[in-house]
Amino acid sequence: MELKRLKFIDKPFIIVLFLILIFGFVVLLSATNAISSNPFYYLKTQIVAVVLGIIISIFIIRYDYTQLSRYNIFIYGTALFLLIVVLIFGEELRGSTGWITIGPLPTFQPAEFTKIILIFAFADFLNHRRGNLDTLAELVPCFIYMGIPFILIMLQPDLGTALVYLVFTIVMMYVAGANPRIMTALILAGVIAVSLLLFLHFQYNFPLPLEEYQIKRLTMFVDPYDDGQGGRGAGWNTIQSLVAIGSGGFLGKGLFNGTQVQLNFLPEHHTDFIYAVIGEELGFLGATFIIFLFAILLLRTVYIAYNAKDFYGTLIVIGISAMWLFHIYENIGMSIGIMPITGIPLPFLSYGGSSMLTNIIAVGVVLSINVRGKKIVF
């Protein structure tokens, strides 16, 4: 790859990304202040993940992604293999068996990396079927292709990640030109079916293939005080997160001054509920500012996708974009009580090595496609 291509790199994307990362480091310092005597422990881990991600990304940017198309069956196989391995050898952490330890490496979640691998695999799969996605019969193989990893991840069970798969699958299919009527009909049918199942479950104890506590966690956000323990049970996180964000007001209580965070009323505030820290300590201003940055980041991915060298690249970028979009919407949504709690981290902000590494690698992938984009005139 010629270095001169690097000047075509999407600058708004890079700038916004670094703003988000720096913003994230600062908030993380405050969030971990109350849970660790060494204030830089978490930050260090986080920065290591970013640096590692950047190093890997440099290789990715240098490498022409189009070559990957040839190994697609292998890529897809790797994804399934990882998911199966984790099902068998995975360690349980916070109700999910998604964690794995290999030798001296820190525990990591293969499901995170699998997202990108699957985006690659599915992008290639769709690319080959472009123009032939008009009938239901033509759509079914796509569903089977993504249905297998979906079911594997559901078995862990990791409903959050499964939903991520579902979302980028649907978005990528739309973009690939799948018949929008059939797609919309299917989505509607799915939504109705899930609603009906939930209704039947709550009204008539209809059995669902999920544990009661999981169902409760999913539906609790509607009325978090109705958890049978006056808000001290399954509703606790939603309530404390809302109280944190709500009490932040317009300007917030200031970094290191959020009582909900610093006194640990808000659980998981450095991981899943990092957004509540922003809301409490930096207020409406900080909370909307970060959404603004995410908006730019996501819109730039759309721009990059549109200008990709080939449709394979477009699909990959859109897949990553959809993945981020869902992560952002779901994570912030659960923090402010409009989405169920699923334990999905906020990209670039939540503490967590696997998630950070995956997202930085995803950035590398986006940039790799970016620098090879159409605009480059030889």
Binding site: A34, R130, G131, V171, Y174, V175, G177, Q240, L242, V243, A244, I245, G246, S247, G248, G249, F250, T259, Q260, L263, N264, F265, L266, P267, G279, G283, F284, A287, T288, I291, F294, A295, L298, L299, V302, A305, Y306, T314, I318, S321, L325, I328, Y329, I332, G333, I336, G337, I338
Partner: protein, 692 residues
């Protein structure tokens, strides 16, 4: 076409991105801007706790400023269960450490205490008050194994004199739910951890003694661990009470009572209970008030052992003289027949209402009264007048006086002297006793008679119902019918007679009353106050124990003045004659001569002995008597009055009289008992030992 299509799709996708992020912003605005105040309040409620700081209780002083109740700082072992993940282990560990010092503490007890407080867990649960320093050290060293366990310093009541004046002081103990409910309905701030006065002065003056709780506003974290203090409101110590109790006299009274009981119980095992009251006659101040078996307020500091619980509140059914509960203050909570100590009342009634002259020999005592039921006299006294009859306690003379005064006269005078009515002393649970009246008799006996005859009527019905069933012929039935009607008429006639007799005041009621028997039942305090009223010439004072309330800085908040309840409607000469007659009791030939014969001449004592039938079911009427004694001195210008009862003391002069003697010796400086009592506590303890 594909490109155009892609552009359109991506445009829609971009709009979806914008749309979703706008939804988030709108929701954020609602939560952060419109509901900001609600959530701020919630955040505050999350983290701020109010913790009460216990105020030191007001101190209690005797008349000579000796401390009767004070506070000392003690180590209190508390436990905050919130945030302790391995609670059973921790509790087990606590029990193991405590075992050496408090073997009675077990896991269940601790869990019970935690459960009791489950809705106020941010307040530490108090496991033990007043733990020894060695235990504090041990706990501190083992800190890491004892999460949630803290040792605090807090003021705790202590009574430097142990059981001395124990019944007057009363005791404090953990508040119970009824008390908590009552207190909170009165707007007083108590918590489940509070101690509250349960009897005596501690109960009566709870509001004054309590003080005002301080508060700490503490910021806590999600595990309810305090992070820092925000504001502290210092507690205000309760007000101090200054009692009228003279500690020397109190000591002498208790010691003397204990001595009497120790001696008497050798002959009579039931002699376990005694009580006495010493009043200052011009003011109504209580100089000493004692009740045995003793109450030691120190006993109530911690958890009460089974043994102590039985000592204070025996579980036997009904009253068992061999197991008298020590919690009762016998001077005000138990009533006794006054026996012959009632005779001054009878005498005054005769002088006042029947125009009797004290000097006239109005009875010739031949060993028993000449009118039915011919109640026996204590001896054969021949011709007696008021003076000689009083000195020898002649039943014959006083029955005659009672007859002359009439029941109304007796009741009037007894009433004037406050017998059968609460004195209104500033102590809780004072009993009224009973001055029998015709109304009372009718009321109580009407019920008894009706109950008896209702039973008889029912029996009759039942019997005839059976007979009717067995009857075969109509003739037979007819006969039975008539027979039944006859019996019914007879029964009703009998009922009328019985009813008439039992519910109407009979002359023997008057006779019984004249000599202090029958249904008369008064507290020792009433007897003391009646004696004091004779002594001071007819001023019925309200007896009181607290004479001054001061703040902890020494400022006088309340100065309690003697209170004259009424000037008696009895001629001064009548009272003067009675004083003279009672003086005769301690003169040669008098029933109390043996007690005071060696007193210096200038200190003259007036007294009356009493030997009262106990009236208790199961007691022997011929051999078992309470010893009752009343006295005042000096006769010409009385200062103090005494009344005392020694249960099963056989006679007043032989039991309670010695207590009066000791007190008077002490008061008038004839003999310094205090200097010669070395181990008052030991003596009282001895009586406790007898009880166990």
């Amino acid at each position: 076409m594909n490109t155009i299509n892609l552009k359109k799709i991506l445009k829609v996708y971009s709009l979806i991105i914008m749309g979703l992020l706008v939804i988030l912003c709108v929701r954020l605005a609602i939560v952060q801007l419109f509901h900001n105040e609600t959530y701020q309040t919630q955040a505050k409620e999350n983290r701020i706790r109010l913790l009460a700081i216990k105020p030191p209780r007001g101190e209690i002083y005797a008349a000579n400023n000796a401390v009767l109740a004070a506070n000392q700082l003690v180590y209190t072992l508390t436990y905050s269960p919130v945030g302790v993940s391995n609670q059973p282990e921790v509790i087990n560990h606590i029990v193991t450490i405590l075992e050496k010092y408090f073997p009675e503490i077990n896991e269940e007890l601790i869990e019970e205490k935690i459960a009791e407080q489950q809705y106020r867990l941010f307040e530490p649960v108090i496991l033990m008050r007043d733990i020894p320093w060695e235990l504090v050290v041990e706990l501190e060293e083992d800190r890491q194994n004892l999460p949630g366990v803290t040792v605090n310093v807090e003021p705790l009541r202590y009574y430097p004199n142990g059981s001395l004046a124990g019944h007057v002081l009363g005791y404090i103990h953990s508040i119970n739910e009824d008390e908590l409910e009552k207190a909170s309905s009165e707007g007083l701030s108590y918590t489940l951890n509070s101690l509250i006065g349960k009897s005596g002065i501690e109960k009566q003056y709870e509001v004054d003694l309590k003080g005002q709780e301080g508060a700490r506003r503490v910021e806590v974290d999600a595990r309810n661990r305090p992070i820092r203090e925000l504001v502290t409101l210092e507690p205000r110590q309760g007000n101090n009470l200054h009692l009228t109790i003279d500690l020397d006299l109190q000591r002498v009274m208790e010691n003397s009572l204990a001595e009497q009981l120790a001696n008497l119980s050798k002959q009579h095992p039931k002699a376990k209970v005694g009580s006495g009251v010493l009043l200052e006659v011009k003011t109504g101040k209580v100089l000493a008030m004692a009740s045995l078996p003793a109450l030691n307020p120190e006993d109530w500091k911690g958890n009460i052992s089974q043994e102590l619980a039985t000592y204070y509140f025996p579980q036997s059914e009904g009253y068992n003289p061999l197991e008298p509960g020590a919690a009762t203050n016998r001077a005000i909570q138990t009533t006794y027949p006054p026996g012959s100590t009632f005779k001054p009342i009878t005498g005054m009634a005769a002088l006042e209402k029947a125009g009797v002259n004290a000097l006239d020999y109005l009875a010739n005592c031949q060993g028993k009264y000449w009118i039915a039921p011919y109640i026996r006299c204590t001896g054969v006294h021949g011709n007696v007048n008021y003076y000689s009859a009083m000195a020898v306690s002649c039943n014959t003379y006083f029955q005659e006086m009672g007859r002359r005064a009439g029941k109304d006269g007796l009741i009037f005078v007894a009433n004037e002297f406050g017998l059968g009515k609460r004195t209104g002393i500033d102590l809780p649970y004072e009993r009224g006793g009973l001055l029998p009246t015709p109304e009372w008799k009718r009321e109580i006996n009407a019920i008894l008679i009706d109950r008896k005859y209702d039973n008889l009527r029912a029996n009759l019905e039942e019997r005839y119902a059976r007979l009717f069933k067995d009857a075969t012929s109509a003739e037979e039935k007819d006969k039975l019918e008539k027979q039944k009607a006859n019996e019914q008429i007879k029964l009703e006639a009998q009922y009328q007679i019985d009813y008439q007799f039992d519910t109407t005041w009979q002359s023997f009621d008057t006779f019984n009353m004249s000599i202090g028997q029958g249904a008369n039942d008064y507290t020792v305090l009433q007897l003391a106050n009646f004696t004091a009223t004779i002594a001071n010439g007819g001023n019925y004072m309200k007896p009181y124990i607290v004479e001054k309330i001061t703040s902890h800085t020494g400022q006088i908040l309340k100065d309690i003045k003697p209170e004259l309840i009424r000037r008696l409607d009895i001629k001064p000469e009548t009272i003067a004659e009675t004083k003279r007659a009672m003086h005769g009791v301690t003169k040669p030939g008098g029933t109390a001569y043996h007690l005071f014969y060696n007193f210096p001449e200038h200190i003259e004592i007036a007294a009356k002995t009493g030997t009262a039938e106990t009236g208790r079911i199961g007691d022997n009427k011929k051999t078992e008597f309470h010893g009752v004694f009343i006295a005042f001195a000096p006769v010409d210008d009385p200062e103090i009055a005494f009344a005392g009862v020694v249960e099963y003391g056989s006679s007043g002069g032989g039991s309670a009289g010695y207590v009066a003697k000791a007190l008077f010796e002490q008061y008038f400086g004839i003999y310094d008992h205090v200097a010669n009592i070395e181990d008052v506590e030991d003596l009282t303890n001895m009586t406790i030992d007898n009880n166990e």
